[in-house]
Structures are given as structure tokens and as C-alpha cells.
């Protein structure tokens, strides 16, 4: 009889350990294997979360640990929710989130649909398109500041070439009206390929025979698109939206590099605002309450969305 790996492991186990293990139930052994993971989870995720919740009810400042910490109840939450500046920050985040997702889904899906067609150089084009998402966000933010520079930046000259608007007559990152769009454009440029890849995976997962059956039934290309392609790619698309939504809700590096939250505070997203409160002003208690509010918001929205995603998958 050939020896299995389990037999070999059993033979290699020291007799003292083997005796102890023999006395354990399957459930206990399962716990022993799972315990390190649970311990790590508690230490790295759950404990900090509980600690943050506790801090959110205090006036603690991490830069002055010797100062007496006062219990302030719900005052931090009340201040945040009634602070008009924070609501402006939320609006800036919502603008960024909604427009980046809309543009990335539309452009990403279109690119995936085109790339999915068989043509010469297909692989080369796919590689070229996905290049932006391989770059570091800090690098992207930095070089786009040069592209947006009103005197020497390429972006303004391209706009001038196509529209006739003088290149030096507008400032993408210096104008209150254009700055929110400047960050949307850069994020879309960088992350549309990601959405495209997910859509491409969805498109390639549709078996050819479904289209062949539709052809036999004389369904038009338009009809095939709406009744086969879109419904079957939809779960992939929704997954891409979820990923991009979560990523962009916590967007920080790219925007800091690009606009620093300015001009004024028009591109100050919640993550930038939170970082300023926590690590520049050192209002740790206040920032903890802020973080909890954001966590609850993201967690709530994501839960609703995942339920919707599961329903779509079940169809």
C-alpha cells in the first residue's frame, strides 16, 4: 500500500504531541488552526475599531498624550454633522465619486466592447490601454500638474487645438469651476483600463453559442446587445463599480498631489479633510468620530450595493 501525505505527517508527529492531539475533538483542532487568524483579525481590525469608537467620544489628542482626556459624549458627532465645511467636503467627494464612476463605466465598457472584437494588434492595444493603471498615483498626480500648467501644459494646448479657446486663458487646477473636473479627468484616465479589464472578462465569459442561437432566431445586433451582452456583463460591471466606488471614496494620494485639496477647499475630499484633522490638527477624538461616520456610510452603502449585486447574479 502506498503511503499518503497524511500518513507521513502522522508518522512525523512526535509521540507526545500525537497523544495530546488524539484527545482533541475535530472542533477543537479546527479552532487551533483558525485561532491565529482570528487573533490577528482582532488585533489588527476589531481592536482598533473599538478603540476608535471609544476615542470618538473624547477630546483626546495624540500629540499631547499627557493632557487630561475628557469624555465629551456626542459632541464630536454633533460638530461634524452640523459643520457646513464638512458637508462641502462630502459634496466634493460625491461629485468626484459619481462622475468618475459614470465616465469610467461608459468609457471602460466601450473600450472592452471594441477590444473584444477580433482584429490585428488586439493584444498590443490592450497593453497600451492598461498602461496608466500600472503607474503610481503620486507619479500620475505629479505629471498631470505639468500637463495642466496653463503656460506650458500640453492639456491646455490640446483644448486650444480642438476648441480654439486660448491655452493660457483657463487654469484646470487653479479654477474653482474646473478643478473638480481636473481630478475627475485624471482618475478616469488612470482607472478606466481597470473597468475595461473587468468588462472584458465579462464579455469573454459569454459563450458564443448564445449569440449563434440568437442569430438563428434572427435577432438584430442591437437586440443581442441589450438582451444578451448587457445582462450577462452586468454583474461584472457592478463589481467594477463597487471596487471603484470604494477606492474613490478613500481617494487621497492622486488628489493631494494634483491639487492639494484646492483651490480653497473645492477638491478637498473627505479623506484629505480627515487626514488634516487627524494628523495635522491632531484632533484625534474628533477625527475618530469623523472616521466612524465615514465607515458607517461606506459600510451601509456597500452592504446595500452587494445585496443588489447578488440579486443580479441570481437572475
Amino acid at each position: 500500500m502506498t503511503e499518503t501525505p497524511i500518513d507521513r505527517a502522522a508518522r512525523a508527529t512526535p509521540p507526545s504531541v500525537a497523544r495530546r492531539v488524539r484527545g482533541l475533538s475535530d472542533r477543537a483542532i479546527a479552532w487551533i488552526f483558525v485561532a491565529p487568524t482570528i487573533f490577528l483579525l482582532l488585533a489588527v481590525n476589531i481592536f482598533p475599531l473599538i478603540w476608535t469608537i471609544r476615542l470618538s467620544f473624547t477630546n483626546f489628542r495624540a500629540n499631547r498624550p499627557n493632557r487630561e482626556v475628557e469624555w465629551v459624549g456626542l459632541r464630536n458627532y454633533e460638530r461634524i454633522l452640523t459643520d457646513s465645511d464638512i458637508w462641502l467636503t462630502m459634496q466634493a467627494t460625491a461629485h468626484f465619486l459619481i462622475w468618475t464612476i459614470v465616465l469610467q463605466v461608459l468609457i471602460g465598457f466601450t473600450l472592452a466592447y471594441l477590444i473584444n472584437k477580433k482584429f490585428k494588434g488586439n493584444d498590443l492595444w490592450t497593453t497600451i490601454i492598461v498602461l496608466p493603471m500600472m503607474l503610481s498615483p503620486a507619479v500620475v498626480g505629479n505629471f498631470w500638474t505639468f500637463l495642466y500648467q496653463p503656460q506650458i501644459g500640453l492639456f491646455n494646448y490640446i483644448v486650444e487645438f480642438f476648441t480654439g479657446i486660448p491655452a493660457s486663458s483657463f487654469e484646470m487646477i487653479g479654477s474653482v469651476n474646473l478643478a473638480p473636473w481636473s481630478i475627475v479627468i485624471v482618475d478616469t484616465w488612470m482607472w478606466t483600463p481597470f473597468v475595461m479589464l473587468i468588462c472584458l472578462a465579462g464579455l469573454r465569459s459569454i459563450p458564443d453559442y448564445i449569440y449563434e442561437a440568437a442569430e438563428i432566431d434572427r435577432a438584430s445586433k442591437w437586440r443581442q446587445f441589450w438582451t444578451i451582452t448587457v445582462p450577462m456583463v452586468l454583474p461584472f460591471l457592478m463589481l467594477a463599480v463597487l471596487f471603484r466606488g470604494i477606492e474613490n471614496f478613500k481617494m487621497f494620494d492622486l488628489v493631494v498631489q494634483l491639487t492639494g485639496g484646492g483651490p480653497g477647499s473645492v477638491t478637498e475630499l473627505t479623506s484629505i479633510n480627515l487626514k488634516r484633522e487627524a494628523f495635522e490638527k491632531w484632533r484625534t477624538g474628533y477625527a475618530s468620530a469623523y472616521a466612524i461616520i465615514l465607515f458607517v456610510t461606506v459600510f451601509g452603502l456597500a452592504s446595500i450595493y452587494v445585496k443588489a449585486l447578488n440579486k443580479v447574479k441570481e437572475r
Partner: protein, 437 residues
Amino acid sequence: MKLSTRLMAATALATTAASGAAAEELTLCWAAWDPANALVELSKQFEAESGHTMNFEFVPWPNFADRMLNELNSGGQLCDLLIGDSQWIGGGAESGHYVKLNDFFEAEGISMDDFAPATVYAYSTWPKGSENYYALPAMGDANGWFYRRDWFEDPDIMAAYKEETGQDLREPESQQEMLQIAQFFQGREIDGQTRYGAAIFTERGSEGITMGATGALYAWGFKYENEPGTYDMEGAVNSPEAVEALEFYKTFYQTATPPGYTDSYMEQGLDAFKSGQVAMAMNWFAFFPGLYADPDVGGDKIGFFVNPPQNQPASTLGGQGISVVAYSDKQEAALEYIKWFAQPEIQQQWWDLGGYSAHNAVLGSDTFVDSAPFAADFLVAMESVQDFWQEPAYAELLLAMQKRLHDYIVADQGTAQEALDKLIEDWTETFEDEGKL
């Protein structure tokens, strides 16, 4: 700690410092800029004399405060000596980051009377007005201006200015005259290129726009409090003069700066001037030696002037004091460095190398005024410097001002009155949290 124990500790430190402690590796932390290079050069002499080795940790200005305050707050031992910004003195003292130097100064015969009073007040003392010293004035500095002398003395440009304004083109003697000159240069063709008025501070992230705008605010008569130490800000921070000054700075930004100049501080200002974009620029005196030595725009092509007065002469204070970090385990050697640095002859060498000494022996010497084209201006500026809050919560106070000023000046939101009113609300909330109101 009891007084006797403190005295004993100070005496022990002083004795060790005097006799020369065992050779140590000291790390001095500062911002990465021109004077830091001069200090490296100067410190070689200390290494030769003391046997200690000097290491340096220089952090670029935009990250300097974040990096160093995190280091102090975490009780880090990276720095034995820190040349920290003047506004940190309150936090450094109250949080116990800096070693109190009174006993050491007394034991070593280092007198604060030997240093310019404005620098001692701003860089060394906490609480303000007290005689508790936490730093030795290391680098005097103020925000000043420089300009293209070759353009100002060009007959064609002078004639054009005279024709346009009816006045002579000269170093401005008021804030309004400076704006007029800057507007004259804005968009003007000189040597076939479009030039602009001036490079001013508009940076949002750290301290830029506050340091720039206070140059106008102080000149108009802005005050932080009605009475020092009362935190009574209503009517002071948002006085009619302050509103006028803020409107002035916004007009300056909108009508006399290069396009896209929305987030600019020291480096961007220097770049704009060195590349010939602007006729004038504001920046710290610390950069003036380097600018004067610049082969393209320095020498005869550059001139310097103090921040012009409006209702009163005033300049925004820069500069730093050198402190011993309380978490260092090489405090004896660090104190030895301070003792060495405080000597008049070392201070003279410091100035000669490009640092700005605050020692009276240097500033008051017969040769000082003629030792550099900006030396006389430096003395004038230091007579009327004003600094931002130096409270332990200064970072919070500064960020609030950064936001309100940038929202109004660059993002064009609201009025100057609203910006200053909101600033009072922000600052009041901070002082309430601090238990000071």
C-alpha cells in the same frame, strides 16, 4: 523635579559640557534649504574642536513640520538637536519636547541679552514675555522682497512706467505702490517674453498663504488679540484694516501674479524669479545670499527691499531657534554644540557662510550693514517683525487660517469680512478646546 535636583542636573551637564564629553554622534534636524548647507560647513569646526561627529537630517519645507512634529510627538530619538520653527516653541515647551535651557545658560554664561530681542522673544521663550528659554536663536529671518534691478533701471521701462502712472519706478515705499508696480509689469513684453508682476505666497497645504498674506495684514495693522494674552479676537482679527489688507492681497493675487500661480510657496517663487517670469518676488531673507550669487538673475540684476509699510512698518517673522530634544540620550554633547554655537566668533562665521546670526555682536558690528546688499534691509525688517500664534495648538490655528485665506483669495469664495469672521469662529473653537476661553 525639585529645584535643587534641577540645579544639580544642570551643573552636571554644564560641567560635562565644559570638560568635553565622550565623543558622540549627534544628529541635528532642520529644514532642507540653503542655510542648512552653510550649517553643515560651519559644524565641521565643531567636529574638529569637540571630537563629536555631526549628522544632519534635513527635511524639505513642505514636509518639515509634519515630519518633525510627528518625531517629537512620538518621543523619537532621531534628533538630538532641532532647529524648529518659531511657532513650535509653545508645544515644544508645554509637551516637554524641548529641554529648558535657563540653568544651562546661567552656568555657561550665555546671556540672552546678547541676541536681538525680537529673536529671543520669538524663537526662545515660552510663555511669551517670560524668561523661560527653550531654544537659542539660531537663524534670524523675515519675509522680504527682491526685484529685477536691471528692469527697474531700464530707461525704456522707466519711461513707460512714468507715462502710465506719472510716478518714478523705484523700490516701492508702500504696499499700494508695490501693487501698482506689479500691475505695470503684469503681461508686459520684455526682451521678447511675457513677464508678470510678482511671485507671492499662495500655498494651501502647509503655511504658505498665511505667511504671504500676513505681510499685508501686519502692514495694515492686523492684530491677533485686542490685548495680548486675552484671546479676545473680535474686532482685532476682523478689524476694518484687516479686511482691507486681505482684499489688497486678493487683488494682488488676481491682477499681478503669473497664470496658474494658485499653490506656490518658496520654491515656486524662486523658480518664477530665476526663470525671468516675474519682476518682483517675496521670500525669506534666508534665500537672499543664494539669489545674489545666482549667475543669471543675481549680482547687478537683483535688488532687495523690506516688506513695504502701509499703515505701519511690519514684516512676517521667519527663522528658528536651536533646541535640545528632551528624548535624546546625548543631551550633554548637544548642549556642548549650543555652547559652541553661541560664541560671537562662531556667530560671525555663521553670517559669513550665509546663515543669519541673531547675535548682537554680529548685527551691531561696524561692518555688518555693508557686508551684503541685503544686510541693512535685514536689520530694518527685524525691528518690526510679527509672528503667528505660538500656542501649543498652533498647527490647528494655522490650518484654519490657511483654509479661510485660500478659500477667499484663491478660490474667490465669500468676502474678506466673512473669511476673517469665520477665522475667529475657528480659533475660538480651538481655544475653547484648549481651555483658554
